[in-house]
Symmetry: none
Subunit: 197 residues, 4 copies
């Protein structure tokens, strides 16, 4: 049976299995055989749906980015004031999804490999640009462009730095880093307000 339309399903299965394997064995030991076993398929099938192992891993990494994007989009849709929009972006980065063990491990692996893969570098470039641009957009109604960009940069650093700390320590309640980042934004805005006053 030709089973039309299996492609997207299989690809998704394999991507999920890849992320799971990266979490369980580490990127270096996430072999095709292990990924395939996790997906419940044979090892050879990877080459039907991807151009080899690297391509699958790349797709998995890209899906991390996409998941994060969806989080941000969904939360931004429910935000109305500039501050809410800023919070929405912060909260997306500290959502439960982003703090799942598997996702954290995969992101860390991505950081660790990016410098030797143009494709992975590009993913992180897009992530950084998008985060910065989202934050700047959200802050622009409250601050001048220069200030907005500066605060956006600081906020992004805060997000990444706190995420990194918590990713390395293991599963912790994401409420704390989220609040820390909000405080940072609030402080920056407060300073600005005072300056303008």
């Amino acid at each position: 049976m030709p089973k039309v339309g299996m492609a997207p399903i299989r690809r998704r299965q394999l991507i999920d299995a890849a992320i799971s394997a990266i979490h369980e064995y580490g990127l270096a030991d996430a072999t095709v055989a292990r990924i395939a076993r996790k997906a419940g398929v044979s090892a050879g099938i990877v080459h039907h749906y991807f151009d080899g192992k690297n391509d699958l891993l790349f797709a998995a990494m890209r899906s991390l980015l996409e998941d994060l994007r969806r989080q941000a989009v969904a939360r931004l849709a429910r935000a109305h004031t500039p501050r809410e929009r800023t919070y929405a972006i912060i909260d997306a980065s500290f959502s439960c999804d982003q703090f799942s063990e598997e996702v954290m491990t995969a992101w860390l692996a991505l950081y660790g490999s990016a410098r030797h893969s143009d494709r992975l570098t590009r993913i992180l470039r897009i992530y950084a640009r998008r985060l910065h641009s989202n934050l700047t957009s959200a802050l622009l109604p409250l601050l001048g462009r220069r200030e907005a960009e500066r605060v956006a940069e600081g906020t992004a650093a805060m997000i990444d730095g706190l995420w990194l700390q918590y990713a390395l320590k293991g599963g912790v309640d994401p409420a704390h880093p989220r609040q820390m980042t909000r405080d940072y934004v609030d402080a920056q805005l407060a300073v600005k307000a005072r300056v303008e006053a």
Copy 2:
């Protein structure tokens, strides 16, 4: 009697070569053969001075931590006021040494592998604890313990986040992230001063 005292020299050679190989080929492709070639020795020698490849890589990672510690110690020795001490710690993290391509790549590789190696996890744990404790100590004369810890956590996040951003973008002037972090500390201290005023 054969050449005496070669051990520390060879170990240092091999560690440097390992960091260099990680930079050039990536952690996954930093093979013993390549590391040895960079060190100008044969592949077999690695097992005279280290308990295998993993042990060498671990030693290399540990040397990253040690280099950073030395930076901090040296700069703290020249700092006198609390604020200077805080700046010293920040500056250590953004020193030229820490922004060399090889060092950044190796740290990133460390982040990427830590979750699957207890020994590497411990290195990062020590790094995080030390940074936090150094910052807290420096800030304590200016803030209450709670506040000092909070600001230390934020500052550490700022350092890691900015470092991460710049490490992934490639070589950039470290003056900017250093100033960003100083600004963060200044803002936090300013708020505090105002509250107390």
Copy 3:
């Protein structure tokens, strides 16, 4: 569907090749590459069908035991009197199969390695127990249990000792050691008969 049922065929091929390689190069130099070449397959395939080189060698040794068992079973099936049964066991040990160069070399290698491998020790334990128990069973109709066990022990020693001598000297007609062992049994039975007379 891929080739089905290859497993037993390949395993047998590899076991035969292993025994052949042990004969040609010695156990110490029976490398995976050489065994694979003899089997006409690639070196990597060994790990599809065995848990590594040691497992293959162990399987080869076990097959020696199994071949000997089959010889004994076949000959016992055609034997009817107690003496014939005793002869059958002796003859199995001195059958042409057991005196092939390859088999002798492999058994010798087994003797030489057994003391450092529990699994190999067990093989030889089984061999010894089986030989002794077969001989005892065959002799029991003719002798009391004690005598039967004593004669069985002597016969087994005779078999092993003669086999060893001839295995080390190289290919010789097995008729002679066979007859020597039969003579031993006959003598023991004759003594017994006289005692009872």
Copy 4:
């Protein structure tokens, strides 16, 4: 200090260490480094006193043969009747020295390797010839040459077979196999006596 006359001492040290290493690690894993460590010397020294590892191992094997020869000579010197001489040879093979764990392991290793080393084959050839000739000489006063040789062959087989069984089972009281072999000789001589009567 030139330390004249160290050669025989060092050679003996190394030979003993080799036998001990064979016992502890097995012939395949008796590396030069391990042997040297057991001898309390450096690894390189082996090549001062032997033509490499193989030569040392060969010397160790030869020393086994020599030890056995000394046992036989000593016991024969105290034997006076033909039967006593025959017993002496048997007893030498089952002396405590020959049943030490280290010696048994080394002999087994010798059996296992002989087929791929002419030098080792020669050692075993000498052993077999010497045993056979000693036994024949001892028996000649009691039997015709043909009979003497036949009984010598049987006795040698008995010795080797029983030794093998006990070497593989682990340390057992050597009194039993010794008695078994004596019984064999006694039976053979008794038969002969009766025939002649």
